[in-house]
């Protein structure tokens, strides 16, 4: 049955290619549907027109899907554009909610750039995949043996199998790593290869990644999103699961531990939140159950690597690094690195820690190696190389250079040692003079260049508003060492070019990605990363292993959330009063509320114009402006942005739900651009929604977080901020009572969410003493000042302390004193107004408490959170020499 009859619709695509167009959604394969209404038919018509001379992943010929794509194509035919669009909207929301990001250097969206994922997967048949698996495992074994040789006897160089330039001129060959022992003879623990399909349909390898390959975590996240968006097609395709691969990765890393073999501590070393793939580091750490660390979290003592935790130093057995090796040790490697761990190399040499991949493993990433891989494979394994690399010429050999000069048209020139950071140059795109320049440069230093055949990439369909579009695709595949072989992830991270004609496939350049589905012949095995039920495991309650840096972030997360909540609560009351004022009634308490708000967010002016010198419209505009203000740092938007930033740094610490809540907080603010449309009512509604969002965060942390030190620091942050907020509020509204105090007391009760409790207790009139009792001294009210201080006193008593000192710490003494002060105070005395119309005792009390809380915050920071300053290099010393 043919699906190729071009309809009038298709001819509107206009190009010469239209005749090759295939209407995937022609319903002839599902006759029951042909009778449906015309509209529905148009909706279902998904056309896809790949170029004729390019291998397309999905279509073998116009309108003829390859066999392994058939289930997905059948399913697509059953859906319409509208349904696909709806599904994909869902998928995109999932990406946003999960906070999948990729940092693009120099992108204005910076750390919040959402991950680009296409709705449709790349499908690979199980038969082809088993060939791919064997070939990649073989390649990884060869590269591992090459690494072991280069950092050991270097026989391959002496035997003429590898040009010495590729080692000695290669900046990625790290001499200090020469001679380190490789447990189990493995240097290459995690391997990645980029595959492209040649025009004859065979795969070839276009790049090897042997240093700290990225992408496996994104592949997993892609899988989660796409399998949820297209569950029926996912089931029908019998897609092989990824979990087993990560299980092997975890087992391999565990097996590397030289000590604590039962329960080794494995950390994932990240360069930090500004790295392009930080999301993935946090994601993988959480998924694999490793501790996410930055270099400053680790320290070397007695040639052992330790993690700095709240409870002291904890030994580290295995480091999975996502930091390039040259940056890993500022003592023995790059001295300008501030990301590494001084002394790490010595710990490795002393066999006290294992780093995966082994330090120095980047040396075999050079594209020049591809020219020698077939003979290396034969020499080292006695086998033919199973999957070819893209044809590569290393210019350091005269014959190769001659070939390159003659055939430059069809070649791409690349630096052999990409550390120098040169871009690939397409021979076909060069003018005569540019060509001469290039050849002169190559001839001057031939060993620094390689030439590769310009790769013809295959295309795969991507989904966009218009339907399906062909895009060039590259597949990144992953392997992990297991015993003396490698296990290959069934699938991978497919990356697609940004536009139809582009051959540049790069996430850094804004390209997209795809899930990759590898079919299975038998039933799909479902495994999870949870341990088998029978396996013995050492019981632990954890808590003190929290690193100081993480505790610091949790502390500030608690503070930011509570600070935002305070701001929103006042704003809500202010907005409601402004609405009243607009309707003509007199609202005297507005001034004190605005002053409290300004005090809370550290705003000197702007919000509260001088008394008597403002009109309603001015004030309204000031408040609405404030909603979207980027300054001061304590204003609402920057505070929420800070909370979200911490959330993204703490991805490995907080639950997915918590992260989703955090990620959506800023969405409640009016858009930055269209402020003019924001009315008081709209703003009020947004603040109500925001209060709920913040409450959701607090609720999740109360109900979901184990009461470990992480939770404690979050709560300490929250209590400190709430106490400071209450103190500001009292100072602005109660110290100098106005003529009509009742109204500002009512506003105070409203702001603190205590109005109902007050009314239940006192029914009628609002008076200072009972208000103070409720908001100041009532230990049962979670919004009272005493409640915050008591919680703080309880927290500091339970913080870990060095050597179990018997004496009370400064923070304990501060908290106890503040609590006693609060408990001793009588609300009636505090409410008494002195001769000058001021509540003097209240003012003194608030000033003292303010100092106490700030002292508490400072001492906790000093004792537990301040990063003991990061290490730095001693200045080297100049040679004087004799003249």
């Amino acid at each position: 049955m043919s699906t190729t009859s071009p309809s009038a619709d298709q001819s509107t695509t206009g190009s010469a290619l239209a005749t090759t167009g295939s209407a995937l959604a022609r319903t002839d394969s599902a006759p029951a549907r042909t009778g449906s209404a015309l509209d529905a038919d148009a909706d279902r018509r998904l056309t896809y027109t790949p170029a004729e001379d390019v291998w397309d992943e999905m279509l073998a010929a116009p309108g003829e899907p390859r066999a392994h794509w058939a289930p997905l194509v059948r399913w697509l035919r059953g859906q319409g554009k509208t349904e696909m669009a709806r599904r994909w909207e869902q998928g995109r929301r999932l990406i946003h909610e999960n906070g999948v990001t990729y940092n693009v250097y120099g992108d204005p969206r910076g750390m919040h750039r959402p991950w680009e994922l296409d709705a449709l997967p790349l499908v690979v048949s199980s038969a082809e995949w088993s060939r791919v698996e064997r070939a990649l495992a073989q390649r990884a074994r060869v590269l591992n043996l090459v690494l072991a040789d280069l950092y050991g006897p270097q026989r391959l160089v002496r035997d003429g199998l590898l040009p010495p330039e590729l080692v000695y001129a290669n900046p990625a060959f790290l001499r200090p790593c020469h001679g380190i022992t490789l447990p189990g003879d493995v240097a290459l623990h995690v391997y990645a290869a980029d595959l492209a399909r040649a025009s004859d349909g065979g795969f070839w390898v276009i790049a090897d990644r042997t240093q700290a390959p990225s992408g496996a975590g994104y592949a997993l996240e892609n899988r989660i999103v796409v399998s949820r968006t297209l569950p029926e097609a996912f089931r029908e395709n019998r897609v092989q699961r990824l979990a087993a691969f990560f299980g092997t990765l975890r087992d391999t890393l565990r097996s590397l531990a030289l000590r604590h073999r039962e329960n080794p501590r494995i950390v994932l070393l990240t360069p930090g939140p500004y790295n392009e793939t930080y999301f993935e580091h946090a994601y993988l750490a959480r998924y694999l159950g490793f501790t996410l660390v930055e270099g400053a979290d680790l320290t070397v003592r007695d040639s052992v690597v330790y993690l700095k935790t709240l409870g002291g130093l904890e030994p580290v057995d295995v480091i999975m690094r996502r930091l390039d090796d040259a940056f890993c040790d500022p003592l023995s490697l790059r001295t300008d690195s501030s990301l590494g761990v001084a002394g790490l190399m010595q710990a490795v040499r002393a066999n006290n820690v294992v780093v995966a991949n082994s330090l120095g493993s980047g040396v075999v990433e050079t594209a020049a190696l591809m020219a020698f891989l077939p003979s290396l494979c034969k020499h080292l394994l006695g086998e033919e190389l199973a999957m070819p690399s893209v044809a590569t010429w290393w210019c350091g050999h005269d014959e190769a250079l001659d070939y390159v000069v003659e055939h430059l048209e069809g070649l791409v020139i690349k630096p052999a040692f990409p550390v120098f950071g040169h871009e690939p140059i397409f021979g076909s795109a060069l003018s005569a003079s540019a060509r001469d320049d290039l050849l002169a440069r190559v001839r001057a230093r031939p060993h620094e260049y390689v030439a590769q055949e310009q790769v013809a990439l295959s295309t795969a369909p991507v989904w966009n508003q218009e339907g399906l579009q062909p895009r060039h695709v590259v597949l990144r595949t992953f392997g992990v060492a297991s015993g003396d072989d490698y296990r290959i992830m069934p699938g991978g991270l497919a990356r697609v070019a940004t536009s139809r004609d582009s051959l540049v496939v790069s996430m850094q350049r804004g390209g997209g990605s795809k899930d990759t589905w590898v079919g299975s012949d038998g039933p799909v095995s479902a495994m999870t990363l949870l341990r088998p039920p029978g396996a013995p495991i050492e019981l632990t309650r954890g808590g003190s292993e929290l690193s100081s840096r993480v505790a610091d972030n949790l502390f500030w997360l608690g503070r930011y959330i509570e600070r935002a909540e305070g701001t929103v609560r006042v704003l809500r009351v202010v907005l409601a009063r402004l609405a009243d004022e607009a309707s003509g009634s007199d609202v005297p308490e507005l001034t004190t509320l605005v002053a409290a708000l300004a005090g809370h967010v550290g705003l000197e002016e702007g919000l509260a114009p001088p008394v008597g010198d403002f009109d309603t419209a001015t004030r309204e505009r000031a408040v609405l402006d404030f909603l979207r203000a980027h300054a001061p740092a304590r204003a609402l938007r920057p505070t929420l942005a800070s909370a979200q930033r911490l959330g993204s740094i703490l991805r490995d610490q907080i639950s997915l739900d918590t992260w989703r809540v955090l990620n959506q907080l800023e969405d409640h603010l009016p858009p930055r651009t269209a402020l003019h449309g924001v009315t008081l009512g709209d703003a009020l509604e947004r603040m109500n929604a925001l209060v709920l969002g913040l409450a959701a965060f607090n609720g999740l942390s109360v109900e979901n977080m184990t009461r470990g030190q992480g939770w404690r620091f979050t709560d300490i942050g929250r209590r400190i901020e709430r106490a400071l907020f209450l103190i500001t509020l009292f100072q602005e509204t109660m110290i100098t009572p106005g003529a009509d105090e009742t109204r500002s007391l009512e506003a105070l009760l409203e702001t603190t969410d205590c109005a109902i409790t007050y009314r239940r207790r006192y029914l009628g009139t609002v008076q200072p003493a009972p208000v103070l009792d409720l908001l100041f001294s009532d230990e049962t009210s979670p919004r009272s000042l005493v409640f915050q201080v008591r919680a703080l006193a309880e927290h500091v008593e339970r913080l870990p302390r060095a050597g179990g000192e018997a004496l009370r710490t400064t923070e304990e003494r501060t908290a106890i004193a503040a609590l006693a002060r609060l408990r001793m105070a009588r609300p009636e005395d505090l409410a008494a107004v002195g001769l000058h119309g001021e509540r003097v005792q209240l003012a003194d009390m608030l000033a003292d408490l303010g100092n106490d809380v700030i002292t508490l915050s400072d001492t906790i920071t000093q004792s537990y959170l301040s990063h003991a300053a990061t290490t730095r290099a001693l200045s080297g010393y100049a040679f004087g020499g004799s003249a």
Partner: protein, 307 residues
């Protein structure tokens, strides 16, 4: 000649240092005309961890860690070394430089490969057209390599001003070439860049030189040996630091040392401690500290002839 070398390095910090990891290359190499009889390394305060190993170039490294808070650290190496003078290769008898270049890329013996690694750019030795142009007059076609190298040494000595304090360890070669001034490691990096830009193998050598003020031509006539013990750690001009020079490779005659700072072929007055591609591979004392505030350094080197 027998020498006793005393090399003292002291770091003084304004704030306590919690932990310090250090890597030092202070043990003279053994071999050739030099016999390093022994080196005593004294570290104050005493380190918690001390280990010794050879680096990729065969230099001796000591690693040590100070784990107790300290306000200053002193590292003193005292080495006893014997140097024999050797008649250097006759420059005219050495291999024409183009032949050296060709031979280097084809020699897969251990010696050949070891030399070949010193042909390439390294972090502190990079070159451009200006470097190539500066080197060219010394290397006309067919000139024996050592003749060319010596001529280059002489030109650098003549063209460049010895000017302490105007450059740092990180001053790039092209800047030295432009400003025509520097100290020993600048001249060494420059000559390395010139030689390597021609495809020749040349390595950086760090070590000590006998204080040249003891030579009769020196006007002061002050013999530092007499006062050395009492003056330390005060700095003495001319002998207060490590020295640097280079060596160039000829497959026929092996490595020959060249000192562009003094326009000499080093023989029995240069004590070799370590060699590598450039300063970065051989820096005598490296450290990474936690804490410390700001710090100052005092260095004292004495090379004393002993009988």
């Amino acid at each position: 000649m027998n020498y006793r070398v005393r090399h003292m390095t002291r770091y003084i910090y304004t704030h306590p240092v919690a932990i310090a990891h250090n890597e030092v290359r202070l043990t003279p190499r053994n071999g050739g005309v030099q016999q390093a009889r022994r080196t005593q390394l004294a570290i104050d305060p005493a380190p918690s961890v001390l280990s010794q190993q050879q680096d990729f170039f065969g230099n001796t490294i000591h690693f040590f860690t100070l784990q107790a808070p300290h306000h200053e650290m002193t590292v003193t190496a005292v080495s006893d070394v014997t140097l024999w003078s050797e008649v250097p290769a006759k420059p005219a008898d050495t291999t024409p430089w183009e032949q050296v270049r060709t031979a280097l890329s084809q020699d897969l013996t251990a010696t050949g490969l070891d030399a070949f690694q010193f042909v390439f750019e390294s972090p502190y030795v990079r070159w451009d057209e200006d470097t190539v142009a500066y080197a060219a007059p010394s290397f006309p076609a067919g000139r024996p390599i050592l003749e060319g190298a010596l001529d280059l040494t002489r030109r650098i000595h003549a063209d460049f001003k010895y000017s302490p304090g105007t450059t740092s360890v990180a001053t790039p070669v092209h800047e030295v070439l432009k400003d025509r001034r520097g100290v020993c490691q600048d001249f060494t990096h420059l000559q390395l860049a010139c030689l390597r830009s021609l495809g020749l193998a040349a390595r950086y050598v760090s070590g000590y030189v006998l204080n040249l003020r003891t030579k009769p031509s020196d006007k002061s006539g002050d013999k530092p040996a007499d006062k050395a013990e009492t003056k330390a750690p005060a700095r003495m001009a001319g002998a207060d630091a490590s020295h640097a020079w280079l060596a160039v490779y000829d497959p026929a005659t092996g490595w020959t040392d060249l000192d562009p700072t003094n326009n000499t072929i080093p023989s029995d007055q240069h004590v070799t401690v370590a060699w590598g591609r450039d300063y970065g591979d051989v820096s005598p004392v490296k450290g990474v500290i936690l804490g410390g505030g700001t710090h100052s350094i005092a260095v004292a080197v004495e090379v004393l002839p002993v009988s």
